[in-house]
Chain length 250, copies 2
């Protein structure tokens, strides 16, 4: 059995997130079913992130054991033939047994998508957060800049997280407008539970005057969750890319 890393792309709308759970269909379970149909063996799949229900992925990495009978290309084709239309395997490659899709990651990029048209856009359903009132993307970008640097992001993490060390380094945090679409892009060495959705909620709350810049600075200094903003809806969130250290690097 070889350890292979699969690159996935999926529309999260129909799924209760990545991770197998009793109360709903998940991407992990759907993929494990597909692998079982193709290989005849039930193999566990390990993902790079636990995306929430409704969150999408343009690039999602996971590992699984693959009996070495199929070439990478054939394995990809066979999986896509049995997977539902809203999940695609883009590629498969052999990795060492030391490679872990979550712990070997050195950075991730998320994108949050907002449809800022007066009327909803049917082509954006489930794919963006719809906000009717015109948003000031320059102001939004000013708030986004506050997050760039190394901080304790405890204030930007939902309760229920068991992670001890909440210090993360955000190296990119910016808001751009493309017509009626507003995109927030954030890159960091790691993210806490619901962190991007709280960053977005905070940007929106400050821009709308419900929260002050000062409160955001306090949130970053004190780790007080109540100084940060609300948690933006899952449907606008995309895991966009994950970067790994080269194998052999330490």
């Amino acid at each position: 059995m070889a350890n292979v890393c699969l690159t996935l792309q999926y529309v999260g709308t129909r799924y209760h997130g990545w991770q197998v759970q009793p109360n709903g269909i998940t991407v992990q379970e759907t993929l494990q079913d597909a692998i079982e149909r193709v290989t005849g063996i039930r193999s566990a799949v390990t993902g790079c992130s636990r995306t929430d229900a409704g969150v999408h992925a343009r690039r999602f990495y996971c590992t699984t054991a693959q009996p070495q009978r199929l070439s990478d290309e054939k394995f990809v084709q066979a999986l896509n033939a049995v997977l539902p239309e809203d999940i695609a395997v883009l590629c498969s490659r052999a990795v060492s047994d030391e490679f872990h899709p979550r712990y070997s990651a050195v950075a991730k990029r998320y994108v949050y998508r907002i449809w800022n048209g007066k009327v909803r856009n049917p082509f954006e359903q489930g794919l963006s957060l719809h906000l009717r009132s015109p948003l000031d993307e320059t102001r939004m970008n000013e708030v986004a800049q506050l997050f760039v640097s190394t901080h304790d992001f405890s204030a930007f993490c939902s309760a229920g997280s068991t992670v001890q060390d909440k210090v993360r380094t955000i190296c990119r945090s910016e808001v751009k407008r493309e017509g009626n679409v507003i995109l927030y892009t954030v890159e960091a060495d790691g993210f806490l539970y619901n962190m991007v959705r709280i960053l977005v909620g905070t940007i929106l709350d400050v821009t709308a005057g419900r929260l002050t810049f000062e409160s955001v600075r306090r949130a970053l200094e004190t780790g007080d969750r109540s100084c940060a903003g609300t948690t933006a809806s899952a449907c606008g969130l995309y895991l966009d890319e994950v970067w790994y250290r080269e194998e052999g690097e330490s």
Copy 2:
């Protein structure tokens, strides 16, 4: 009762086309239901085109009678509140009783969308035709140029059409690539039944070597359907815009 023209946008995937029919849910019926819920009156709706099952619209115009109690803005808001997520009313405006969304149209633009990536794209599901093999968009555009001009398009019309005069003028017909997406844009003073889908099928057949340029020229000269190409799948087709003569013009 005022005659109002509604501008719609819809994802056609779930619908058996525009026009009311016994065997499936249609956009027309869904809209008529919404108007009845908002106004309390069952009003007929007249559309600008009979889009097929699975065809989408970025701009679709239709007329209906509106009791004059609601402003245009309130009418739009009320309709969007009761319509399903995959249909949106963009605006409503009063038009004269002479205005007809189909017969007053002077030109229409359709766009056909192809996803030309090796692997399917989950974000394109139902929204484009997926063709795996790399397509030569320059060659496709050369075929598309053959259609520009005034022709009898009988060869590019499905059986079952009752229209007598099949002469139409195409003023724009072009193929462009944007990354893995190929877009065919066509503008004409009118379109026959399945015409755009047959134009696309012809472009694809010639590009793949299944049909010759000469055969396409013969199709345009003789009206022989068998000289033209196949009918491309509905899911890549978008009614993109409809133009009307100014009211008062003749």
